[in-house]
């Protein structure tokens, strides 16, 4: 059940270069959300009229975590949140990752701030007694939202090799997959090229891939029909799914991208 609530900022600090973590007390959302779901943050000024969607990056007690990158006007406003500020927040929105226990190996793959929803998923897997492998890539060391992770096996890579291996994290994952024989389930959140690479290998390997997609959203609720992705589940390939309502998590086989 979605709730439009007043959340209270409990904490808000930079955890990496231009990446912040906010802890927001909002019981109505914290008590029912699933990894992969997101929230809408509403702002006061009306020069920019879309609320901004953010993945839920974790939950503790009555609070949710957001991990966000400062890239534009509204994330700049968020960066100025002080402890005690009241913010307008709607959630939980969308559908979570479907990670019903299965025998496959659980792999998380994120680029930069794409780690946000997977951090929550990792917490949950860990609670269920599963220790996932977390592949995390970024441009450089300072832009990684975390550098160690006691609860999962962490594989890092950076474009400049400042930490982990040098190169693309997807290359590391491909190498890893080629060495294991068990089926694997990969949960992905990251930039377009990462998702497109996964789309290619999802056919060739013995894996299931779930992806959390990002699209510009006007409502986040299924009202505007703005946030479409091509749906490949029917043969015509000519239907659209709504990222906000049918997603943001999709089985990668169910969605199509233009080149």
């Amino acid at each position: 059940m979605k709730c439009l609530s007043s959340g209270i900022v409990v904490d808000n600090r930079e955890i990496a270069e231009s990446i912040c973590k906010a802890v927001i007390s909002v019981p109505s959302i914290a008590n029912q959300c699933l990894p992969g779901q997101f929230v809408n943050i509403y702002f006061q000024d009306s020069i920019r009229i879309f609320p901004r969607p953010f993945s839920i990056a974790g939950v503790d007690n009555d609070s949710i975590h957001l991990v966000y990158k400062i890239i534009g006007p509204q994330t700049k406003v968020m960066n100025h949140w002080n402890t005690g500020d009241s913010i307008k927040i709607l959630g939980p929105l969308g559908n979570g990752f479907n990670c019903t226990a299965n025998k496959s190996e659980m792999i998380l793959l994120a680029g930069g701030v794409g780690a946000a929803p997977l951090m929550f998923l990792r917490d949950q897997l860990f609670q269920d007694g599963i220790k996932p492998v977390f592949f995390l890539g970024a441009r450089t060391k300072s832009q990684l939202p975390f550098l160690s992770d006691p609860r999962s096996r962490l594989m890092l890579s950076t474009d400049d090799g400042s930490i982990g291996s040098k190169g693309l994290i997807t290359d590391r994952l491909i190498e890893y997959l080629s060495k294991i024989n068990d089926p694997a389930t990969v949960f992905v959140c990251g930039p377009d090229p990462m998702i497109k690479t996964m789309k290619l290998i999802s056919f060739t390997e013995n894996i299931s891939v779930y992806v959390s997609l990002e699209k510009t959203m006007a409502c986040g609720l299924g009202l505007c029909q703005g946030c479409i992705v091509k749906n490949s589940s029917d043969n015509t390939g000519k239907h659209y799914s709504l990222v906000c309502k049918d997603g943001p998590v999709f089985n990668l086989n169910d969605v199509e991208f233009d080149e």
Binding site: L4, R48, C219, L223, G226, Y240
Partner: protein, 304 residues
Amino acid sequence: MSDLSIYLGKDLVLSNPILTASGTFGYGDELSEILDINQFGGIVTKSLSLEPRIGNPSPRIVETASGMINSIGLANIGLEAFLKQKKSFLSALTCKVFVNIAARTEEEYGTVIRKLDNEDWIAGYEINVSCPNVKEGGIAFGTDPIVLNRLTGVLRKTSKRFLIVKLSPNVTDIAAMAKIVQDNGADAVSLINTVYGAAIDIYSRKPKINTVIGGLSGPAIKPIAVANVIKVRDSIKIPIIGIGGISNGEDVIEFMLAGASAVQLGTINFMNPCAVNEILEFLNTYLKQQKLTSVSDLIGRLEK
């Protein structure tokens, strides 16, 4: 509490003047978890066509200064699925339900209306005439006086239901269009639909909207909408339903003073999905403070 009800004519009374605008509120069910839909005077559904339409490819929406451009392409589930999937929810509402209809030919409009005309939970139709007319080279029905004239006449003959024609602002003389619609028997006009707008990404050099030109909405267009209501008010006697950039109670009153009998909330549903609560509260406070017993006392009371 003041009297917020509005008599629109033809036995149609709204519990208050606040409706939702087509395409910005889904079919009403999406918001039912966070909002009591019956707080509205009525809801207007997403434009419905005879067959389902997948709509335009991505990107469909973009933010602009105090506004947004959309080019959804009238994506909708089509008449059959509408009646199958949405009827039980919509027919249980106590507020009025208006079905907005979009079509590519005069015949398609007529067919949709005929198929809906037995559904007694429908309070009326709103005709979206900003759709491209395939028989007239794709020019929107609502921008050609002759086409609009004929279409309204045909639809009036098809149904006795409350008939609203939704006008486009992208014309030289909107008052003339309103007059045509009235003279052909429509029960009300609603205005405005979105204003032509475009935006370009200067790095990719691509349009930010798939169809290059889309429809601008939101607070940015409120002054345009108010001006259009003022232009139309002297040319017709049937009620005007005001639409465009309304985001709070003050805006609602501004439209009513300009001449609107009711209003629709569009883009604000994205910015503030519970705006209707605040608006109804403001209306009550304002009426009390202005010592008015009925909200209908505001209609057209602009002092020039």
